[in-house]
């Protein structure tokens, strides 16, 4: 079975489009959180989020009319172009049969349901045209990406909520290893929406001002949006074209708490199992992990349960392994989150730098690990673990390692 490497990364986030700007802002600890503008929040008790302001899909979408696509699809296509460029691949010269797409999302295109409802509530259902079915179903996100690049290979959509990016990466990894594809565009996308915002507000889960993962006074998560795409390639393919390699995909672990729809298991059993499976499938021990990209949403319960789970697996090594949450800066980008965090892991490995958890003003005694508080750090990363936990209790851990031949 061929090995699988990452040769390109692309992202659209609230702190920058593309690898360079994103990484620079991330290491500088910049926040992408702002006042919500895409809908009226005056009836809510919270008003902030990680919206991407000034995204221009027409800058990227070439082979279709950008206005015909939902926002998540636009973000996904944009990030795909950036990833392909980053990988030194010409989008017009991809092998259509052996290049596939594997995407994750939490809500798909919820703005399309909002449009549907706006028409219905106004008693004008005839305003709803063929575009609802054309744009809304979440498989359209992976579909529009394939449509943009003319790809006939594997095409997968895994809406595994907030762990979806990792699930998409895992599928892409397996597909290449099984010889079903040579190249996979893998990642996730989710657009900001009033549905998602209303839901989290209803659970009292949204922080009023900023996201403070692992901090004593953390007040909740911060809904965000974005897309992250990685070019996964068989090692043979990458070497044939002398592609620079960010990292190798070493393995993954997937599990389910089967406990609660919106809260994790307090003993972190499912999360621990996913981490252990990831390590076993990668042939690695916890001591060999140099950096963990946390799920770290900033809610009281997630951050505490996650800490318990990490300690369960890493024991004493937990205290020596830096673990940071970029959700402190860009909020929770839902289905894109673990894809963007996979990019972070790849960049940590290739640049020997790890991003901080910002807004960590006062530490929580129950969260006593090294969360890289507030300031980025130089750190040699040979192995990085990316953890993601989703609604429905589904857990996914992905491990990347430095490619050393």
């Amino acid at each position: 079975m061929d090995r699988v490497v990452i040769t390109g990364v692309g992202l659209i986030t609230s702190i920058g489009e593309g690898r360079q700007t994103f990484w620079e802002n991330l290491l500088a600890g910049r926040s992408g959180i702002s006042e919500v503008q895409s809908f009226d929040t005056s009836a809510y008790s919270v008003h902030r989020g990680g919206e991407i302001k000034r995204f221009a899909p027409e800058k990227y979408v070439r082979n279709q009319s950008p206005g015909e696509l939902g926002r998540s699809s636009q973000l996904a296509i944009a990030a795909s172009y950036l990833a392909l460029a980053d990988a030194g691949m010409d989008p017009e010269r991809l092998d259509p049969v052996m290049t596939g797409v594997s995407m994750g999302t939490t809500s798909g295109e919820p703005n399309q349901v909002e449009r549907f409802n706006d028409a219905l509530v106004a008693q004008e259902p005839e305003r709803i045209g063929p575009e609802f079915i054309g744009r809304y179903p979440c498989h359209r996100i992976a579909g529009y990406v394939a449509g943009e690049f003319g790809l006939t290979g594997c095409n997968m959509m895994i809406p595994a909520a907030c762990a979806a990016g990792n699930y998409a990466m895992a599928y892409a990894f397996d597909a290449i290893r099984a010889g079903r594809a040579d190249v996979m565009l893998a990642g996730g996308a989710d657009a900001f929406s009033r549905i998602t915002y209303t839901g989290f507000a209803r659970l009292f889960a949204i922080a009023p001002e900023k996201c403070q993962p692992f901090a004593l006074n953390r007040k909740g998560m911060m809904p965000g949006e974005g897309a992250g795409i990685l070019v996964l390639e068989s090692l043979a393919n990458a070497q044939n074209r002398n592609a620079p390699i960010y990292a190798e995909v070493a393995g993954y672990g997937l599990s389910c708490d089967a406990f609660h729809m919106t809260g994790g298991h307090p003993q972190g059993d499912g999360a621990a199992r996913a981490m252990r499976q990831a390590l076993t499938s990668s042939g690695l021990t916890p001591e060999e992990v140099d950096y963990i990209s946390a799920h770290g949403t900033g809610t009281k319960s997630n951050d505490q349960h996650e800490t318990v789970a990490v300690k369960k697996v890493f024991a004493d090594a937990a205290y020596r392994t830096p673990i940071s949450s970029i959700k402190s800066m860009i909020g929770h980008t839902m289905g894109a989150a673990s894809a963007i965090e996979s990019v972070v892991c790849a960049l940590a490995i290739s640049t020997s730098r790890i991003p901080p958890t910002i807004n960590l003003d006062e530490p929580d005694p129950e969260c006593d690990l090294d969360y890289v508080p507030n300031v980025a750090r130089e750190h040699t990363v040979r192995v990085a673990m990316n953890n993601a936990y989703a609604f429905g209790g589904t857990n996914a851990s992905l491990i990347l390692r430095k490619f050393e031949g």
Binding site: L203, H260, T262, G263
Partner: protein, 89 residues
């Protein structure tokens, strides 16, 4: 508002959120142990109670009070104290 009327309405609300027959909901039944409700169901009930009795609780108040409501009786007393406050305010 009469305690009995409050209790009966609270039980109806719990019944709607859980499919448990109101007559099977004991006056002192605990939400978690006796009725097997998780935090999400509890939140749903709290939200319905707020709306039904027009308590107009803010998000902060509702979120804070949720932790204190352990039994059916707690919920009934909470509503009654709020309604009484409302009248005297």
């Amino acid at each position: 508002m009469e305690m009995e009327a409050i209790r009966s309405t609270v039980k109806e609300i719990i019944a709607n959120a859980t499919n448990i027959n109101p007559v099977d909901i004991g006056d002192t039944a605990s939400f978690q142990e006796d009725l097997g409700l998780d935090s999400l169901s509890l939140l749903e009930i709290a939200v319905d109670v707020d709306h039904m009795f027009k308590l107009n609780l803010s998000d902060e108040e509702l979120s804070a009070r949720l932790q204190e409501l352990r039994t059916v009786q707690d919920a009934v007393e909470f509503v009654q104290s709020f309604k009484t406050q409302g009248v005297s305010a």
